[in-house]
Amino acid sequence: MVKFNRFTLNNGLRVLVHEDNTTPMAVVNILYDVGARDEDESQTGFAHLFEHLMFGGSVNIPTYDEPLQRVGGENNAFTSNDITNYYVTLPAVNLETAFWLESDRMLSLAFSEKSLEVQRNVVMEEFKQRYLNQPYGDVWLRLRPMVYKQHPYRWATIGKELSHIENAHIDDVKAFFKKHYNPQNAIMVVGGDVKAEDIKVLAEKWFGPIPAGEKYVRNLPQEPEQHEERHESVTAKVPLNDVYIAFQAPGRMEDGYYAVDLMGDVLSRGNSSRLYRSLVKDQQLFSEIHAYMTGSFDTGMFVVEGKPLETVSIEQAEAAIWQQLELLKQADVPADELTKVKNKTESTLMFSEMSLLDKAMNLAYYELLGDAELLNSEADNYLKITAAQIREQANRIFRKDNSSTLIYLAEQNAAEEIETE
C-alpha cells in the first residue's frame, strides 16, 4: 500500500506527495505526457533527443547537473513510446534545489545551439551503440513497422534513422517544448522524508508562477486490427538464428490486459515457465526463449523471442512455439499454475515497495493512466483473472493472421584474431 496526498496547481500541474520517513532522502519525479508516439513521421527520435536537451541548461540556470551534484543529488531520465520521465534523488534537507532546477526547465530552456549540436552527436552515438553495433540490436527498428502500419508505434524511441536526428533544428526544439512541456502536461511526485504541507508551499513557490501553456490534444491514428500473416527474414552478421513472433495485444487500459500479462508469465516467467521447460529443457530446441508484452498505452505487442539450437530448423522452431501457444488456446491453465503466476505478481509488487524511486515513478505512471490509486488495486486486478479469461485472450491474440514473424539468419563469420601492436 503506497499512501499519498494529491493536489493540482492553478496552472494545471498535478502534484502527488508520498511521505516515507524511513529514509533521509527525497525523490522528485516529473513525468511529461509525451513520447515517441507524439512525433512527426519525418522527425522521429525527437522526444528522446529532447530529453537529452533538457539537461543543457534552462532559462535562468546555465547547467542542470552541476548545482544538483553540488547538493548531493543525482538524476536521470528515460523516454518511451508513451512518456518522458525525469527523476532526481537527493538528501531531503536539500529538496528545494530540485524544485528550483525542475521548475526552471519547465518554465523555459536555454535553447543553446552548442547543446543541440553536442546532444545530436551523443544521441547518434547512442543509436550506434545500442541499435546498430550490437548483434540483433536493430530488432525493434525492423519489428515495429511490421506490427504497426498506421500508429506511430511503428518507429522506435531512438527514431527511424540517424538522419532524423542529424537534421534536428533549434526551431523544432522550441516548437516541441511549447507543445509538450508545460504544467498541464506534467505530473510531479515528491516522495521520501518530506511533509505534504511543505511540498504544497514549495510547489506554489516554484511551479505556481509557470504559465499553464496550451493543452496538447492527442489525436493519433489507431492501429487497425491485423488480419494478415506477416513474415520477414533477414540475413545479418549475427552468430545465431533468432525467431521473433509479435502479436497485436491489448493496450494498457484495455480489456484483457491483465489476462494477457499473466499469460506471458505462464509462458515465460521463471524456470518453471512453459517455454523454458518445454522448449529449452524437455524438447531441447532452443538455447533461450522469452515472451513478454510491451504494456503500451495504445495497442501493444505480445512478443515471443527465441534462439533455436544450431541443429534446429527455423520451421521446426516456429512450429514448436506455435504448439505452445495452441495449448493455451485449447485448455485452461491449471489452477496451481495460475496461482503460481499470481503469487509471483503479488510478491513482485511487494518488493517494488522497497524502493522509494520505484514508488514515486509508479505513482506518476498510474496517475497518468487515470488515478494513482490504481497502483494500490493492481494486485487485485491480477488476482481476479480466471483461467477462462486467459484462454479467451489466447484465442483472440494467437492467430496466424495476427502474427508478425521476423527471422534473423546468421551469416557465417570468419574467426576473429587478436592482434598485438
Binding site: T22, R70, N94, V118, K205, N271, S347, M350, T420
Partner: protein, 425 residues
C-alpha cells in the same frame, strides 16, 4: 518576486547512519549476520561461499557449479526446484562472482517455511545431473557466441586477461572450456566448497524470532563440515608484459576502449581518497571524462571510470564505446585527463561539488535494509569494520587538492596502463 537565478540554500549532509547487524555463529561453524528493519513482510537471504582455488586445467568449475545448483538434487529435479520457488512467488539466484559464489533468495516471510528447504537442498545435496549438464554446456556455448560479437565484451575479456593472467579474475572462457566440464569434477568441487565453514549467511528484512529460529534450525542443524576444508587460496596474479591490444573489426561503426591498471583495494588506507580521485575523473555524470568526451566533443553516449575492490587486489579502469572515426582522439583525450590530474590541482569549486556528491550518494545508497546489508558485506569481505565508513566520510570531507595530485602521481601512469581497443583505431 522570485529570483530564479539564485540557488536555494543547501545544508551539509550529515547523519549517515548504518544499520549494524546482529551476529550468530551456528553450531556447524556457519556465520549468520542479520539486519532487522523495514515495514514489508519479506526478506532477502544470501548464502555466500568463497570460491575454490583456480585450476587452469578446469577453469570453469567455480562458475559452472554455482550456476547449476538449481538443476537438481538427490530428492528434487530441476523442474521441481523451479516449481517450488515460483509457486511461492520467490526469486532464487545462484550467481558467480570473482571472489564468491552467492545463492540469493527473495521471499515473502509467510512462505519461508516452504522456500528455505529448497535452498537447504540445493546447497547440501546438488547432484548436477548429466543431462542437465549437457543442456547447460550447449546453452552457455550459444550465449558465448552472442557475447563474443559485442565489442565491449571482447574489450573486457582481453583487458582482464592481460591484467590478471591465468586466474579467476583473468579468465576469458571459450567454447572448449565448457566442453571440458565433467560431472565428477563438479561433484567434488561442490563437496569441498559448499560446507558450513565456507559459508556466511546475510539475512535482511523484517526479522522476528520465528524467522530467525527457522533459519538457524534449517542451516545450523543436519549440515556438517566435510573432512576436507575448502581451499580458497588463489595463485598470484600475473600481469602480461604486453600493454596494448588491438582487436580489429573492419565493419565497426564504434570502437570499444578499455584502459586501466591494477591498484590498491579497500583495505589500503589510500582507498577512500582514491575513490574521490576516480569520481573526479570518470565516476559520475559531471566527471571530467563525461564533460570532455561526451558533453563537449560528442564522441560517445557514455564514458566512465571505476575502481573495483576484490579480495586479491583492485583495479582502476576507464570504459567507453566511441565513434570509430574518433577513436584515436578519444584515447588521447583520456590520456590528457589522466595527466591533468597529475599536473594541475583540482579547483576548489569542483572538489567541493564532488565531496557533496559523494556524501549524497552514500546517503542515497542506503535505500532500504538490503542496502545496509550490502554496505556491511563491502567491509566484511575486506576484513574491515564499520569504522571504515567513518574514515571514508571524514576523508571525503577533508581530502585536499594537493593530496589528490599526490595520489594521482602515486597511482596513475598512462604509459604503464593496459589499453584495449576493439573496433577501428
Amino acid at each position: 518576486m522570485l529570483d530564479r537565478t539564485l540557488a536555494p540554500n543547501f545544508g551539509a549532509i550529515e547523519h549517515i547512519k548504518l544499520v549494524e547487524p546482529e551476529h550468530i555463529k551456528l553450531p556447524n561453524g556457519c556465520s549468520l549476520y542479520y539486519f532487522n528493519s523495514g515495514e514489508q513482510d519479506l526478506v532477502r537471504i544470501e548464502w555466500v561461499f568463497g570460491n575454490l582455488r583456480f585450476n587452469p586445467d578446469k577453469p570453469l568449475l567455480n562458475s559452472a557449479v554455482v550456476t547449476m545448483l538449481t538443476e537438481g538434487t538427490g530428492s528434487l529435479s530441476a523442474s521441481q526446484i523451479a516449481d517450488k520457488v515460483d509457486f511461492y512467488g520467490a526469486f532464487l539466484q545462484a550467481e558467480y562472482g570473482f571472489d564468491h559464489s552467492v545463492v540469493t533468495l527473495y521471499s515473502l516471510s509467510k512462505h519461508l517455511e516452504n522456500t528455505l528447504p529448497v535452498i537447504k537442498d540445493i546447497i547440501t545435496d546438488s547432484v548436477f545431473p548429466e543431462s542437465e549438464l549437457q543442456t547447460y554446456v550447449r546453452n552457455q556455448q550459444q550465449k558465448l557466441q552472442v557475447s563474443l560479437q559485442k565489442n565491449d565484451v571482447l574489450a573486457r575479456r582481453a583487458f582482464n586477461k592481460a591484467m590478471n593472467g591465468d586466474s579467476l579474475y583473468g579468465l576469458a572462457a571459450d567454447a572448449t572450456d565448457f566442453q571440458q566440464l565433467q560431472r565428477a569434477d563438479m561433484l567434488a568441487h561442490f563437496k569441498q566448497m559448499y560446507q558450513p565453514s565456507n559459508c556466511t549467511i546475510f539475512l535482511a528484512g523484517k526479522i522476528d524470532e520465528e524467522i530467525l529460529k527457522l533459519i538457524t534450525d534449517t542451516f545450523g542443524k543436519n549440515w556438517q563440515n566435510g573432512p576436507e576444508t575448502a581451499d580458497t587460496t588463489q595463485p598470484a596474479l600475473k600481469q602480461a608484459d604486453e600493454h596494448f591490444y588491438y582487436i580489429e573489426k573492419p565493419d565497426a561503426i564504434q570502437s570499444a576502449i578499455r584502459i586501466g591498471t591494477r591498484i590498491i583495494n579497500r583495505s589500503h588506507p589510500d582507498f577512500p581518497a582514491l575513490q574521490v580521485l576516480n569520481t573526479i575523473l570518470g565516476g559520475y555524470f559531471g566527471s571530467r571524462l563525461m564533460a570532455n568526451i561526451r558533453e563537449d566533443k560528442g564522441y560517445t553516449y557514455g564514458i566512465g571510470s571505476g575502481v573495483s575492490s576484490l579480495k586479491h587486489g583492485g583495479a582502476l579502469f576507464i570504459a567507453t564505446e566511441v565513434g570509430a572515426d574518433v577513436c584515436r582522439d578519444a584515447v588521447s583525450e583520456i590520456e590528457k585527463e589522466i595527466n591533468r590530474l597529475k599536473t594541475e590541482l583540482v579547483p576548489q569549486d569542483e572538489l567541493e561539488l564532488v565531496r557533496n556528491y559523494m556524501l549524497g550518494s552514500l546517503l542515497g545508497s542506503l535505500e532500504n535494509v538490503f542496502s545496509h546489508a550490502d554496505k556491511f558485506k563491502n567491509v566484511y569481505f575486506s576484513e574491515l569494520d564499520y569504522t571504515y565508513y567513518d574514515r571514508y566520510t571524514s576523508i571525503i570531507k577533508a581530502v585536499t587538492a594537493q593530496d589528490l595530485m599526490d595520489l594521482a602521481n602515486k597511482y596513475l601512469d598512462f604509459d604503464k596502463m593496459y589499453k584495449v581497443i576493439v573496433g577501428k583505431y
